[in-house]
Symmetry: C2
Subunit: 129 residues, 2 copies
DNA sequence: CTAACTGTTATATATAAAGTATAACAAGTA
DNA sequence: TACTTGTTATACTTTATATATAACAGTTAG
């Protein structure tokens, strides 16, 4: 799996890494049970610090996207992924709101906004489906 | 116009204020040519610092959502709002991507994601339209 | 004219977040 | 035994955020 970190971005590195791994899961490139690099190996591959990877793993573990085995390593949750419960949906709407609001303010219609959202969805479509 | 700042939020105050003003424009509550409070009055109303408001105004001015007249005050851009050009659309897609990706990872379908996006759109719908 | 207001700029300070660096620990494995 | 694993602790630097105070130049109201 190829992960690119933008060191010029205003988005924190640990957030970028979190997003990239979630994207890998969404695309179906990271399957349940699949092993992830150790914090030390991953940080060296990406050219970042060990604790930055550790922070990302901590967040992914908290959200049940990965399982951490203290002396064995990290793997994509083999028991499947967390559901889109109401807590998540509420957070999703809060994050969507400013994006949709600015789109409306710039004159986009409901259809145009949905179209952009669909484009992003298609781009994340799983290979071979 | 009622603007609420969440001092417990991890989102910077100047960003919250930016989003609230854009939301006001999207809702049609802030119309072109309408005056905005001065940086001093606004900061006192919100219980925040003058420079925090000034930073928000600077961003809104940069994006052409407001016009600033040095010794007269600030107003919602009377000449209309910036278009959803390709630069904005690209930024929009970049911001949508992690949200859509996590939605997919949590098992949401294309229709379910679109539905949530529509909910947010409807919530921002202009009064009386 | 004077006083009050406007956005703007400068300086200083405090706090928190982000990221790095180094080290050590306990436990599993080759 | 040697190496790896996640984890924790400490220390440090840099940047972002937010506040506080002050001053400037020009506009407007009394």
């Amino acid at each position: 799996m190829f992960i690119k970190i933008d060191f010029q971005s205003e988005i924190p590195i640990y957030t970028q890494l979190y997003n990239e791994i979630i994207k890998g899961i969404a695309k179906g490139e990271l399957l349940p049970g699949e092993a992830l690099p150790s914090v030390r190996v991953f940080s060296q591959d990406l050219g970042i610090n060990m604790h930055t990877v550790n922070k990302t793993y901590g967040l992914l573990k908290q959200d049940n996207f990965i399982q951490v085995h203290r002396q064995k390593g990290v793997e994509i949750n083999p028991d499947g992924f967390p559901p889109a419960d109401e807590v998540f949906l509420e957070k999703l709407r809060e994050n969507l709101e400013p994006l949709v609001a600015e789109s409306i303010a710039r004159g986009m219609s409901h259809e145009e906004i949905i179209k952009e959202c669909s484009k992003v969805f298609e781009k994340l479509g799983r290979k071979g489906e």
